[in-house]
Amino acid sequence: MIIFNNVSKRYPSGYEALKQVNFHLKAGEMAFLTGHSGAGKSTLLRLIALIERNTTGQIVVGGQHLGRLPTHRIPYLRRRIGMIFQDHRLLFDRTVYDNVALPLVIGGFRPPEIRRRVRAALDKVGLLNKEKSYPITLSGGEQQRVGIARAVVNKPPILLADEPTGNLDPNLAKDIMNLFVHFNQVGVTVLVATHAVGLIKHIKCRMLVLQHGGLIGDTHLRMMR
């Protein structure tokens, strides 16, 4: 589903954020991307969603070579990727319902379909009773769950999360991680960038370790050997 082949990212300033990264995340697989801050976790996720383009190497997402994807096709790539951010990135002048509905409105869904899917997504994250609230009235954990509902509402095959538990206390963080495991169980390919290694130890899944922009560990491959 996601293939990195000798991918490097060098910024115009000369800073090399990623060096020769290789991995293959299969469809329906779940992986954690760990490493100290500044190791290149966010950059790697941004390359997948084409928020930035890689300097060298090849990235293939859902069978699509990103290097060959023209700029005007980027929106359609992003509609197949659900993204979750550390700072939630919700729209504070809109209700929870409208926030979650956003990807569906962008995708041109019919209003009845939007209502059905938003309710289902909010139900999944346990916030059905908050659909008319504004994000500012919600706690950090609730805001993050709104962000997750928004990311999964149009049922994308890929879910990317960048430090989704960064600002949450351990119990809430555990709930959030369990949500990701749940989505993975229904077939979504999940890649979660986090530095909270203690939190994910008990979750049995693949771990990609970045250090100074290089991929230094891939537990999944180790198990295969």
Partner: protein, 325 residues
């Protein structure tokens, strides 16, 4: 580390056919929603929005009002046009029969609607009555006045009148041919000049409207930067992001057009009474021409269209700068 296999390249998918069933009336619903949401966003900041619309309104009202004023002058001069005439003073040697022949010949021309013959006797009589030289003129032995033909023009076109004048001047029987409505020609020339001025003014003010709307939309774009970034992160196309700003520009232009319409009507309402008094003094039935339905619609449409274009220019320039972080 083992290098993972790379699948063969796939061509980019042309369109999101997978969700084709979701388009159709969803598209229309989305457009209408955006249309009214963007109006709602203008209403949410009533005072700044009103000020923007006022600036646009005044900028539109100026050329519209001047244009209307010109229409009125034109209308007024058309009333006088019917009286455009050429006086032909015939040579002393031309007698009654020749004058009559000339008049008949003139009447056959299609530019001429009527010819009046003033005999020397009539002319002397009239002159005697009007000039106050009555006694002095009786002292004259011969009547020194020639036959005069007053030629009534059938057309308002002064160029055509001028050409006729040149032709008549070459006739051997005619001593002097004189256009009595030279001042009308000057008036038309002046109207043409003012009209050119109005066009220049209108172009400059059009530019001003575009800049005002462009600037307003630019500010709106920067205020909603975060929103635009989030939309892009979830797969919004440029068209999708552009749409609410285009509609907002259209609304601003339309509101400006409405304000311009009100301003013009108000100003002409103020002029109505003095003009009526003035035209009464001239025994004229003249009435001010105001904006009719068609020009009103044209004014509103122009406002809306300028708003749309201004927004388009601003959006095209500034949306590219905003890319998600």
């Amino acid at each position: 580390m083992k290098r993972p296999p790379v699948p063969p390249p796939t061509p980019p998918r042309r369109s999101p056919k997978a969700s084709q069933m979701t388009y159709g009336n969803a598209w229309l619903t989305h457009h209408l929603t955006t249309l009214f949401t963007s109006f709602g966003q203008i209403l949410r900041t009533p005072l700044p929005s009103l000020m923007t619309a006022m600036v646009i309104g005044i900028a539109l009202a100026l050329p519209a009002g001047l244009y209307l004023l010109l229409e009125n002058v034109q209308h007024l001069s058309n009333e006088w046009n019917g009286t455009a005439q050429i006086s032909l003073f015939l040579k002393q040697t031309v007698g009654e029969e020749k004058a009559q022949n000339l008049a008949d010949w003139l009447l056959q021309k299609k530019e001429i609607s009527g010819v009046q013959i003033i005999t020397p006797t009539q002319a002397l009589e009239e002159y005697r009555n009007l000039s106050g030289f009555g006694q002095a003129l009786t002292a004259l032995e011969d009547n020194p006045l020639p036959y005069v033909l007053i030629v009534q023009l059938a057309t308002a076109n002064t160029d055509l009148g001028e050409r006729l004048l040149e032709e008549l001047k070459r006739k051997p029987e005619i001593e002097v041919a004189q256009f009595d409505m030279l001042w009308l020609k000057r008036l038309f020339a002046m109207i043409a000049l003012v009209r050119r001025g109005v066009i220049i003014l209108a172009s400059l003010l059009t530019l001003a409207v575009l800049l005002v709307i462009g600037n307003t939309i630019r500010l709106a774009i920067y205020n909603r930067r975060e929103e635009i970034e989030i939309h892009k992160l979830f797969g919004a196309t440029d068209a999708f992001i552009r749409r609410p700003f285009l509609y907002a520009g259209g609304w601003y232009g339309l509101l400006g057009g409405i304000i311009a319409w009100l301003l013009v009507h108000f100003c002409f309402w103020l002029l109505q009474d003095p003009v009526k008094q003035l035209s009464l003094l001239y025994y004229s039935q003249f009435e001010l021409v105001t904006l009719d339905l068609l020009s009103s619609l044209a004014l509103l449409l122009t406002g809306g269209l300028l708003g749309l274009i201004g927004a388009w220019l601003a959006v095209g320039r500034h949306l590219k700068e905003i890319q998600p972080r």
